[in-house]
Point group: C2
Chain length 116, copies 2
Amino acid sequence: MPVELSASQALNLWHSVSLEQVRIDNRDLTLRQISILLHIYLVPPPHTVRGLAGILGVTKPVITRALDTMGDLGLVTRSRDERDKRNVIIKRTVDGALYLEKLGDLIIDQGRKLSI
Amino acid sequence: MPVELSASQALNLWHSVSLEQVRIDNRDLTLRQISILLHIYLVPPPHTVRGLAGILGVTKPVITRALDTMGDLGLVTRSRDERDKRNVIIKRTVDGALYLEKLGDLIIDQGRKLSI
DNA sequence: ACGAAAAGAAACGCTTCCGTAACGGTCTGA
DNA sequence: TCAGACCGTTACGGAAGCGTTTCTTTTCGT
């Protein structure tokens, strides 16, 4: 079930959602952080630092720092992989799920308001 | 013509577009910068620093800095308002239009790939 | 058993962003 | 006309991001 958007619909959707996100959310995540967060919550686990770095095309410290920041915000958690103690498994939190739920609602709302 | 999205469609769309944007674009604009850029290009002019600050709910220096950064990237230009020389009018550029055209195409492409 | 490899974190120097506050140039109305 | 309001920028100290490099712990192959 693809979603067919016109050029103006696509950009207007992005515009209104970004704007509301900026206005509402004081946490001000970067695009990278949002990508990581969405990836963790939408793609089946397990998620590792190395894996995420490869997927986003960034270096490992970028992921570590993003997880530090989002961990402080309560959006994700980390725990050692007991099967291979070199790995860290990135886990979801209730707050993180809530955050993305709100984002989803925002996108849906702004999508409904589109014209042309 | 509203766009009806399911919760999973909304988040998957945001996920895939953010991910591709991170992978493709080395400029790495912040969400605020993207909001400003989209606003300048989608909302009829004139655009002023004070006006944008009010719309985004941020302070004026935030707008000035964002315009500095995006000006260096060639995405926007500024010029004094000759009618009231206190004001600065923010203008569009060819590169900026091209940047947003690519973003629009990306959103459209990822929208087409959605399922469920 | 032990050296190499792998994973994540920490350190380092740098850049960029933030909000508050102060600053010059411009307009305006009393 | 000129004091005050307005507009955008700059300055400042601090926080957070970046990529590269180094370090610690753990695993794996021989």
